[in-house]
């Protein structure tokens, strides 16, 4: 389990011109038992890393690729310069220049091909891992005729892990387009479309990539040496005092559905109604609760970052609590699974597409608490329940 102070320090350190951090949204900040490490797993420059179940950060390594923001389910990491809106506007503007073709390319490729293409018709990103489904669907809704993500020699790139994120995003988007019956498909290509090239010079990315790769590996070696030197030079810092979030009146932590998720749902609504199919994507989950095993603690709802899982009183007269789960608001952070003390809750991959569009929720009626309240025997009762033993003598 990572130290809470390390998480706080991570966010403090990452805040920069490239990334805006919202530590209150991080699943691991909300729940120290959470297993989410997606940012570290996806980081393309090792700025965020895990060693012996500890999260470490090296801020000067951050290249602002935005891949961590793409994988973060709760929007705790928010890319800036460009932010999502600016990136979308750039893509639309470039697509308009390119007669409806939206092309987003890795900056390494564009640097290598400098002078060979019309820069007005293509959008550059540090890494294709920056692209998320909401951006791609926004382009589809906007009416572009095609969307291409152009990679460089990602296999040899020091930030190669970003490509895996990009591939996952593209696959997810194509799945959504299929289920929503839209004919457009997103492609990942190795070269710029001919329509973007200024003249036919027979540009060969592989040759250029070789030299870039050498340069990249040299840079990596140099930065690794530097990192070690910096780490050795830095003194051990004192642990910062923990910063805890305040709870709301209903005992839950503040909720926030990331803007990207809302935009994604809005774009899907604009595409129309989906087929009656099951979706299995990285985006949404479907909660099932074994009510026999569930003890009604409602911690899952307390910690859910988006209120996809929410609790409410069935009525004013009936004190029975129910839980509701809406897959559309679920970001699949698995915080609910991690926090459940009885393992009654399971987050399934399969989600009904139509549930996303029609806003259907699933309800779970919690069983009445077995513990007595406002009763002088309530401690005894609690002990009986905890120990699973009836024979306890009260003295």
């Amino acid at each position: 389990m990572p130290k809470l102070s390390a998480i706080f320090d991570l966010f403090d350190g990452l805040q920069s011109n490239h990334i805006r951090t919202h530590q209150n949204r991080c699943v691991t900040v909300r729940n120290r038992n959470a297993t989410c490490r997606r940012c570290a797993e996806a980081c393309t420059s090792n700025a965020i890393s895990i060693k012996d179940n500890e999260i470490f950060f090296t801020p000067h390594r951050c290249i602002g690729c935005g891949t961590c923001a793409t994988v973060c389910p709760t929007g705790a990491l928010e890319p800036t310069e460009p932010n999502d809106t600016e990136l979308l506007l750039s893509c639309l503007k470039a697509a308009k220049q390119a007669d409806g073709e939206a092309v987003i390319a890795c900056e390494q490729l564009l640097d290598a091909a400098s002078g060979l293409f019309d820069p007005e018709k293509v959008v550059r990103v540090t890494c294709l891992g920056r692209i998320d489904e909401s951006l791609l669907l926004a382009l589809v809704v906007a009416g572009v005729s095609s969307i291409s993500l152009v990679q460089s020699t990602c296999a040899e790139c020091e930030h190669a892990v970003g490509m895996k994120t990009a591939e996952l995003v593209v696959a997810t988007t194509n799945t959504l387009l299929d289920v929503w019956d839209n004919p457009l498909r997103i492609g990942i290509t190795n070269g710029l479309p001919d329509t973007l090239l200024i003249d036919d010079l027979g540009y060969d990315p592989s040759r250029r990539g070789f030299f870039l790769g050498i340069a990249g590996r040299a840079k990596t070696a140099a930065s690794a040496i530097l990192d070690d030197a910096v780490e050795n030079a830095l003194e051990q810092q004192e642990e910062a005092a923990p910063r805890y979030q305040k709870v709301l009146d209903d005992g839950t932590l503040p909720h926030f559905l990331p803007d990207r998720r809302e935009r994604l749902l809005d774009r899907l609504a604009q595409l129309g109604d989906p087929k009656d199919e099951v979706l299995k994507t990285r985006l949404w989950g479907h909660v099932t609760i074994d009510l026999k095993t569930c003890n009604g603690c409602t911690m899952c709802a307390t910690f859910c970052p988006t209120a996809a899982l929410s609790k409410f009183l069935e009525s004013e007269t009936n004190e029975r609590i129910s839980l509701e789960h809406y897959s559309g608001d679920c970001v699949k952070c698995r915080c609910c699974e991690d926090i459940c003390p009885t393992k009654a809750l399971v987050l399934c991959e399969a989600v009904q597409a139509q549930d996303l569009s029609n806003g259907k929720v699933e309800s779970f009626a919690m069983r009445a608490s077995s513990r007595m309240k406002d009763n002088r025997h309530s401690i005894l009762n609690s002990m009986q329940t905890l120990l699973g033993v009836d024979q306890i003598t009260e003295c």
Binding site: R20, H22, N24, R25, G75, E78, T80, E81, P82, N83, D84, T85, E86, L88, L89, L92, A95, K96, G100, V141, A142, G143, V144, Q245, K246, L248, P254, H255, F256, L257, D259, E262, R263, L265, D266, A269, Q270, S310, F312, E324, Y326, G328, S357, N358, G359, K360, V361
Partner: protein, 647 residues
Amino acid sequence: MATPAYRIQDAPAWMEAGAVRICGGVKSGKTEALLEKACFLANKGIDPGRICVVVNTANAAEAFRERLSVMLEGGQFDVARLRITTIQLLAVELLSCKEARLALARNPRVLNAYERAFVLQDLAVCGFTDAQRESALTSLARFWSTGIIPELPADGEDDTRDEIATAVWAYLETYLIAHQAVLPEDLSYLCTLFIKHDLWQAAAPGFDHVMVDDFQNLSKASQIVCEALAKNSLVITGNTEVPGMNRDAFPCPEGLTRFVEEHDAAISIALERTSGSEATKTSTYTSGRDALSDSPTRQILNIKWKTPEEEAKGISQWIRRLTSGSKEASLSDFYLIVPNSHWARAFEQSLTSQFREHVTLLCGQFLSERLCEPSCSPTLTAFTKLNLLAHPSDPLAWRCWCGLGLADRGAESWKQLLELAKRENLTVSEAVAQLSKTASSDEETGSPHFEALRERYLEGMDFIERNQKKIGYALLKAVAGEAPDRAFSLLVDLFEGTEDARTTFDRAWKCALDPHIGSRLDAVRILSYGELTGLSPQTVILVGLNDVLMPPGDRSDNSTAELERELFGKDYQALFQDAVGKASKTLVVSTIQKMEQKTAEALGIRIARLKTEHGKTMAMLSPSSLLPETGSPIPGSESGEYFLTTL
């Protein structure tokens, strides 16, 4: 700091020019340029009564006067004599001169919002449907805004004029003349008629120097009036990058863009932006985004709330937290910009609940709308009583008095009175006076409608007799009771305690015509986007910033793909950009995620997405499409729930 340009020896050449256009974007110093010109004229010894400054709102006029007073402090120039006014009040003054009354045979008694409601009701009982009435009035307003006098079709020629609009106008013209009143949208047009009349030269109205701020916001007719009044110099300012905002019903931005072509020897100056807003340096804001980007010390918050109720409560809590016990922040620092009356009411209630007292000030259109509501009878009653005392023979005052509190505003009864007047060739006032006669056996004048009118008339006469000599607070108590309604108190703001009915009514009437914010009141201002013109608030809070609220209308129609979509609602874009650039200290952008489906349907919002939540169906909303155009200066949203926990 640059040398003030209003010292004569330092004045730039344009200050001596006859026709000058000063163009600049948001916060580029356009108003400052006019202030410097005014100071220049003052230092030249020009009589302040010969200078006129036309601004968009009464509030802007107040702000201009205050700033000018500071700049000229200690000098001999009497700022109070300098005419700083709105085009409406200027037009009323122009039409009040005896030559204008002779030329046009019209009394410039302008209908305000309350009185207009009675007139529209009277139109309704004459057989015109609501749709016909609205359409006709819009056509008329558009026509009047052009300042062009139409030629009637010659004999034998086809009359291509809008039939319904012509019929409505025919009735309305007779009605207004009989009641000695004019519609506000007709003011500038009437002035253009006067300008073209022979008596204009005899009257010789005008000023040596006229300055107009935000020229593009005026209608063509209003622009013609300003040009006609300027004898020696005319200086106008405006922003050519944005279309006119709806200060006049039909603004004419072409008047600004074509100014140099249409005026001999006119010069044009492009103002550029500086740090600090000195008017003589370079770099323009063309949009609120630029203004935002150039203010690194300005705090910008983007908060996403779950529901409108949460938004109102949360914002109210925030304001309370900032102002409680704080000497730095006061309620009047906060300007709440709302998309519609529903939001205005919700925030009014929420803030009142939070502070346990009235701490809000409805402004502009919201004040006008509120005052026209039947439930707002205390203010309407007080205003009508005051009118009656001030002008006991004003037919419009009697019209309102007789219709007060009645379901149809007494329209049927009044219609019968007008028919009587027409039949017996009486003026409306004379017909009203007939009501003093005892009930007759005549079928018409003995009818229940006439009986009701007669009763009302006698009540009115009794009221006048008992109170016409009262002044000061005794007068206020007589018209508004022991505890005047808050809205009425605002109408008589600055009451000194010695005013008679006529003086008090004039003040209330001016305020009703152009509800201004009144900087003296320590309250949160609630206003619409267009009301920000001429203001420099510290904290601007834009609430309900969702598609279909701002910009209003059906925004979920995606029949046209985004690439080919024209930028929707340039007017709303301009309003939004202006609002975004206004805040000097803090800008809050507030959006909501969802609202109950029934509320959304009641507001006429087309719903894109629904969600079931705890047994209710919620309509999911999108943030305003205007937000992306401001780009990176506005950060990504933060949860309202989390925001409140940080307070």
